[in-house]
């Protein structure tokens, strides 16, 4: 099929920091018919996947949850890719049911480590070619991440295409500075601007210089980790929103990401935040076989015990 290079399967790696808009971009690509015959693999660091619920348009979806595929989930990724290679070899390229693979990584993944995992595997090296590394960058938070997160910089450096997201919500001066900084980190990758997934033309931007990023070599940085919070039962939505809105106001730079699906009287709500910015919840269609009512918080600078004790205090209000 046309999707292969020298008979090898074309792999598109879609990376980018936590909440940078990977799923939104991919969802729009699928909506426009791109990657129509690709296997979509979604990796999430947390045990509870959410993104797969949004990618219903994909013909074939594989979820790799509970471990980032550039490190702890690496073996599962290799195993899954090998399985797809086997399937294609068995069926023959012409009869294969897919013509490529799109891997949406977790926001904590270094795409270069995934490329390395493929190159160092004796099977995958002969069957898979990395066609493209698309990395999404949040127009609102991208610069802050580049200032403080070595991982954010490695993601940019690994890209063959950069997609700046949420450009409709950012100031032109901020976008201009981000673009200039991206060009210094990765001069060869073309940069696209998007809003809610689709590409847009940017307005005239003021001439600005790239940010002089601090040297992060040797700088201590606490690990970023996920915490699962179960709603329903003892934790009611209203108390949870009082707690989370206060938490994001006070600790929005530490709680980098919150996401999950919650069943409420108003329907199944998809809750998503990136630092202090909370998206208006999408109302998802009913789906009986889903494990809802779980919110995953991803961040650093606190302990799981603190988070649970604090939420418990808020939830017990009026019930003491």
């Amino acid at each position: 099929m046309g999707g292969s290079a020298e008979g090898r399967i074309r792999l598109t790696i879609l990376g980018g920091f936590l909440g940078s808009g990977k799923t939104t971009w991919l969802r729009h690509q699928l909506h426009t018919g791109a990657y129509a015959h690709s296997v979509i693999m979604v990796n999430e660091a947390a045990e509870t996947p959410v993104d797969d619920a949004l990618l219903g348009r994909s013909e074939r979806l594989v979820v790799l949850a509970g471990g980032c595929c550039c490190c702890t989930g690496r073996d599962r990724l290799v195993e899954e890719l090998r399985r797809l290679c086997d399937e294609r070899s068995r069926d023959g390229a012409a009869a294969a049911r897919f013509d490529g693979i799109v891997l949406e990584t977790s926001g904590l993944a270094d795409p270069a480590a995934i490329v390395e995992a493929i190159r160092s595997d004796p099977v995958l090296i002969h069957h898979i070619v990395v066609a493209e590394i698309v990395v999404t960058v949040d127009a609102l938070h991208g610069l802050a991440e580049l200032r403080g997160e070595p991982l954010g910089r490695r993601q940019i450096e690994a890209a063959t295409r950069l997609v700046v997201t949420k450009t409709d919500a950012a100031e032109p001066a901020g976008i201009a500075r981000l673009l200039a900084t991206l060009k210094t980190l990765n001069p060869s990758a073309p940069i696209e601007a998007t809003a809610r997934g689709s590409e847009i033309a940017l307005p005239d931007l003021p001439p600005v210089e790239a940010e002089d990023l601090p040297d992060l070599a040797g700088a201590p940085s606490a690990p970023i980790f996920p915490i699962r919070i179960e709603l329903g039962g003892d934790v009611d939505w209203t108390a949870f929103t009082v707690w989370l809105s206060a938490l994001l106001h006070a600790r929005g730079d530490d709680v980098m990401r919150a996401k999950g699906v919650v069943r409420t009287p108003a329907g199944r709500l998809l809750l998503q935040s990136v630092r202090k910015v909370v998206q208006r919840p999408e109302i998802l269609p009913p789906q009986e076989d889903r494990e809802d009512d779980t919110i995953v918080l991803i961040g650093r600078g606190y302990t799981e015990e603190q988070i649970r004790a604090s939420l418990d205090y808020f939830v017990r209000a009026g019930r003491r």
Binding site: T24, R57, A239, A246, I283, A309, S310, A317
Partner: protein
Amino acid sequence: MCASCGFPAAPGHWTEAGAAEPHDRLRSRFRRSEVLRAVLPSYGLSAHDGGVVPGIQLSSLTGGETIVRNLEDLWVAAERMCGRPVDPLDPRFTGSA
């Protein structure tokens, strides 16, 4: 900008998205007040929402008073009134030293 590849968003502020019917909304506002009454006094603040008019009335012990539209605005106003953010991870809520 593409608006057709997502699902419809809940109207209003995100913290109020869990209630669509009037009785659910009212119940949620009372519950919200209940939680705020347990959290704000230790910061010298109090909140009142009678459920009749929109907004939450936020007052300080020193006589400051304002009406906010939603929880997001409330935490901003609370920080302004008492000079520091209400931090859910403060030991007074987590019980840790």
